[in-house]
């Protein structure tokens, strides 16, 4: 019964919502629209009442785990607590009812939020020019790389065909490079899991447009040569792009600009708690140096006297979203930053403290491939012969959402654990206890896991072979 689709809970003629009665003459569509354009068959959609809708989706939700229900140390995703104040802010009617095309004079409150947020993100990164348009991290990457491309075009430099991407990079980095019509070249790591500077030197040349670095990288390690890396790139006229998905380890401790980063994206849904929504929406706002500022998407928010207005950057790459970005997400991020101010540094400190604590406690039982100071997350590997997947499913039976597994790709059986600053020592201790117990759990039991979840393990092959993606 629980897994019925909403469509199977209905009956012809049921209605879940009542609309106002017509108060003007009802037009017959046949009189005004060519017959060929009119629909012949009613779409096969659910016909259900409101009680059924509420019950159906409430019960569906109960088959999910979220930060609200359990520890969710999904590496590279920063599953921190989502303050409820954010939700209250985005529901205020004066924002919720604002049409994106109302003249600027009618949206001064919204524009000010955007203007201030631009300033906050500039300050946190040290990079003066911001665009709030990109709708997720990946789009922030693409926006940035398109700006780099346009920069070279504007400079008449047509040699820049390559973007360098470390082997630890998130998949969106190489995919972005391809989308922007660059060749992406993979660059190797040194013994700390960081970009190999010697290899970098040997790879850069006049064809290099940019390096996409993630810092801390996806092993949770700070790229300690980042300033040198920037120099190497700048020497050949290339840009250093930073994937800022991991800014939760940097706020107040490391300003990318200071190390020579030219452009970066934020994940507001990660670092600034906006929340994740089962897979989005997010925001991938970017920040860059003045040199790249004229290429930002059109428009950005400027201020003239005490009036806020949209302005088009001079050499803009154009717009990357229909309107002004995911404004609701921006408002939540603004609210989060307002509630923290310079104390954002404490957020970073606690996030890094938690990750290092987990590292210290797992060490010995799990392999820590880069067992030095980590930042906001730590990569662990199960003992030889054990699978990350099995440990993950075992964690489900212990009531936890598993860490990210099999990423970064460079670490075999990787488990990328990001506790975030929101979790208490007690929660970490319980989780660590579960991890240690799972290290001792028999292979059979592990392979059978999960047994205490809404489903057992799924047949993923079948889903792909016999694709059924709709009712």
């Amino acid at each position: 019964m629980l897994n019925n689709l909403i469509r199977d809970r209905g009956r012809e003629g049921r209605r879940g919502f009542t609309l106002p009665k017509p108060d003007t003459e009802t037009k017959n569509l046949n009189d005004i629209i060519p017959k060929s354009a009119l629909r012949k068959e009613t779409p096969n959609l659910a016909e259900v009442d409101e009680p059924t809708v509420i019950r159906h989706y409430t019960n569906l939700s109960r088959q999910n785990q979220g930060i609200d229900t359990t520890f969710y140390p999904l590496g590279s995703c920063t599953m921190k607590h989502n303050p409820r104040a954010n939700e209250v802010a985005a529901a205020v009617p004066g924002f919720a009812g604002l049409h994106p095309l109302q003249p600027e004079a009618q949206g001064q409150g919204a524009l000010r939020v955007m203007y201030e947020l631009q300033g906050f993100l500039a300050e946190v990164s040290g990079l003066p020019a911001v665009s709030l348009q990109p709708l997720a991290g990946a789009q922030g990457e693409l926006t940035s790389i398109l700006m780099v491309k346009k920069f070279f075009e504007a400079a008449g430099d047509d040699t820049r065909t390559t973007v360098l991407v470390p082997s630890t990079a998130h998949g969106t980095n190489p995919a972005t490079a391809s989308m922007a019509d660059f060749k992406s070249k993979e660059i190797g790591l040194d013994e700390h899991g960081c970009v190999d500077v010697d290899e970098l030197r040997s790879m850069v040349d006049a064809s290099t447009a940019a390096l996409m670095i993630t810092n801390p990288n996806t092993c949770g390690v700070f790229e300690r040569n980042i300033a040198e890396i920037a120099e190497v790139l700048h020497e050949v006229g290339a840009f250093l792009y930073m994937d800022g998905a991991n800014m939760n380890a940097n706020m107040g401790r490391f300003q990318p600009a200071a190390a020579g980063v030219d452009i970066m994206h934020y994940n507001l849904h990660k670092t600034f708690s906006t929340p994740h929504g089962g897979g989005g929406p997010g925001s991938g706002a970017i920040a860059c140096v003045e040199r790249l500022a004229p290429f930002r998407p059109d428009p950005v928010v400027g201020k003239d006297g005490d009036k806020y207005a949209f302005v088009a950057p001079e050499k803009t790459i154009g717009r990357v979203t229909t309107f002004h970005g995911n404004f609701g997400v921006l408002l939540k991020a603004w609210n989060y930053i307002k509630m923290h101010g310079p104390e954002l540094r404490d957020v970073t400190d606690m996030a890094v403290l938690n990750a290092n604590y987990v590292r210290a406690k797992l060490r010995g039982t799990y392999r820590i491939p880069y067992d030095e100071l980590c930042k906001h997350e730590v990569v662990a590997q199960p003992a030889e012969g054990k699978k990350a997947l099995d440990i993950a499913k075992g964690l489900i039976d212990h009531g936890y959402h598993p860490p990210t597994i099999y990423f970064p790709l460079v670490v075999k059986e990787a488990m990328l654990i990001e506790p975030t600053e929101s979790e208490s020592k007690e929660t970490l201790d319980d989780f660590i206890g579960a991890m240690l117990e799972l290290a001792e759990t028999s292979p059979e039991e592990l392979e059978a896991a999960p047994t205490h979840a809404p489903t057992r393990r799924l047949d993923e092959t079948r889903a792909a072979r016999n694709l059924k993606a709709r009712w």
Binding site: A175, P281, M350, R457
Partner: protein, 428 residues
């Protein structure tokens, strides 16, 4: 200490000891260059103070008045039940359902979203959402290029939302414009090297287009046909899949999302089964678990960036899951009849308004073209009219910049509001 972190000084002490360092600064020993001093941000506010500021800023917006603006975002009724569901913590605070055993809620709702989109568009397969309408269109442009193995160049109707077109161009796809003839697209000159032909129906100007003609023109050029449709319109207009469209995309905002100054909304995409491998974004499919129990899982993951990296069909990762859920819940509440009623109410009211404006001596820009709830009306000085409307507590339509106003009428508008609109326009 920051607001949402539990640690006391004692906690910190114990944890630093366990790590084997003595200060928090030590945890950043490897960070270079370090920051000297504090971030230059305004001092931290308490929740109450921050929300009071939100309220104060909200008051600087003009909201709560009857809105005649559309042009891609519509002031539609959002049932209260939508908010009740999408605010459930289990939906709100989870992420991409990588662990299907504890994500069936999200997964099944994606499956339902895909089903709804497929039903509305008449196309076999849909994805879990992309960022917004413009990005759905741009992704479709790239998709047609991959499918036809042609260079990224597409023919787009002049009736396509200009913002959608801009994003196509930002994504470095060449655009050839197909002109309008009495408001409807003229397909006479589709170049034969384009990968796709894009038509929006109802168009940016509100005109119901001939999607079949677009499909024929596309196929004649060896290109794919892409229809851009408002999902509400598909309750009454023929499914693009039945009119030869290979891909249908659009903006799902009208399905239960507040205006919220432009987002978050959600883009939808659907296509024929044969093209599924080039469809970007996440796809949820049905399967069974070890015990044979029906369940859902993300599938065909080999198309995606985390698996295929540089050769992925798109870089999209995070999408618009929560707003797509809003669309799913909205559509469940409405049902096919409710959607039709929304469409019919809006259409009847829009036509009433158009007629009354006609009686007041105004001319529609495309008087002979069929339309639903949006139309362009000739007005020499739109800005002045909009000022007058604002003084009368109404938010006027979009200034097209060439002596016309694009007016949208939704089911929310009452006859009184429409009459007041005509009155103001007449006297402005």
């Amino acid at each position: 200490m920051a607001r949402f972190t539990p640690h006391t000084e004692e906690d910190v002490r114990e944890m630093l000891d366990a790590i084997g360092v003595s200060t928090l600064d030590d945890l950043f020993a490897d960070v270079e260059p370090k920051i000297e001093g504090e971030l230059g941000l305004p001092p931290a506010l308490s929740e109450y103070e921050a929300l009071r500021e939100v309220d104060a800023l909200a008051k600087k917006n003009v909201a709560g008045l009857p809105i005649f603006l559309g042009a891609g975002a519509y002031d539609r009724i959002v049932p209260s039940a939508v908010g009740a569901i999408i605010s459930r913590g289990e939906f709100l605070t989870s992420y991409t359902p990588y662990q299907p055993e504890i994500s069936q809620g999200t997964l099944q709702s994606i499956f339902e979203f895909q089903s709804i989109i497929s039903e509305l568009t008449g196309l076999e397969v849909s994805n879990a959402s992309v960022y917004d309408g413009a990005n759905a269109v741009a992704e479709a442009a790239l998709m047609t290029a991959r499918l036809t193995k042609r260079d990224p160049k597409v023919a787009v109707s002049k009736g396509l939302n200009p913002r959608y077109r801009e994003v196509i161009e930002t994504y470095r796809v060449e655009v050839v414009e197909l002109p309008l003839e009495n408001g409807r697209t003229d397909y006479a000159n589709v170049p034969d090297d384009v990968s796709g032909v894009f038509v929006q129906s109802p168009s940016f100007y509100g005109v119901v287009e001939d999607i079949s003609a677009a499909s024929e023109a596309a196929h004649a050029a060896g290109a794919l046909s892409v229809a851009v449709c408002d999902p509400i319109s598909l309750a009454v207009l023929e499914a693009p899949g039945n009119l030869g469209a290979d891909v249908a995309v659009g903006e799902a905002q009208p399905l239960g999302m507040p205006l919220l100054f432009g987002g978050p909304y959600a883009g939808y995409m659907s296509t024929k089964a044969e093209f599924v491998r080039q469809l970007p974004g996440r796809i949820c499919g049905e399967t069974v678990d070890k015990d044979g129990k029906l369940a859902y899982v993300l599938t065909l993951r080999g198309r995606e960036q985390d698996i295929r990296r540089a050769r992925a069909n798109s870089n999209i990762c995070t999408n618009q899951a929560l707003t797509a859920l809003a669309a799913t819940v909205y559509t469940a509440l409405m049902g096919p009849e409710g959607l039709r009623e929304v469409a019919e109410l809006s259409t009847s009211k829009a036509h009433y308004l158009a007629e009354k404006l006609g009686e007041a001596g105004l001319k529609l820009r495309y008087p002979d073209a069929p339309f639903l709830w949006e139309f362009a009306v000739e007005l020499p000085d739109v800005a002045r009219v909009n000022d007058a409307l604002l003084s009368n507590n109404m938010i006027g339509g979009l200034d097209l910049g060439d002596g016309a106003m694009l007016v949208a009428v939704t089911e929310k508008r009452t006859k009184d509001e429409l009459d007041a609109f005509v009155e103001v326009v007449r006297n402005a």
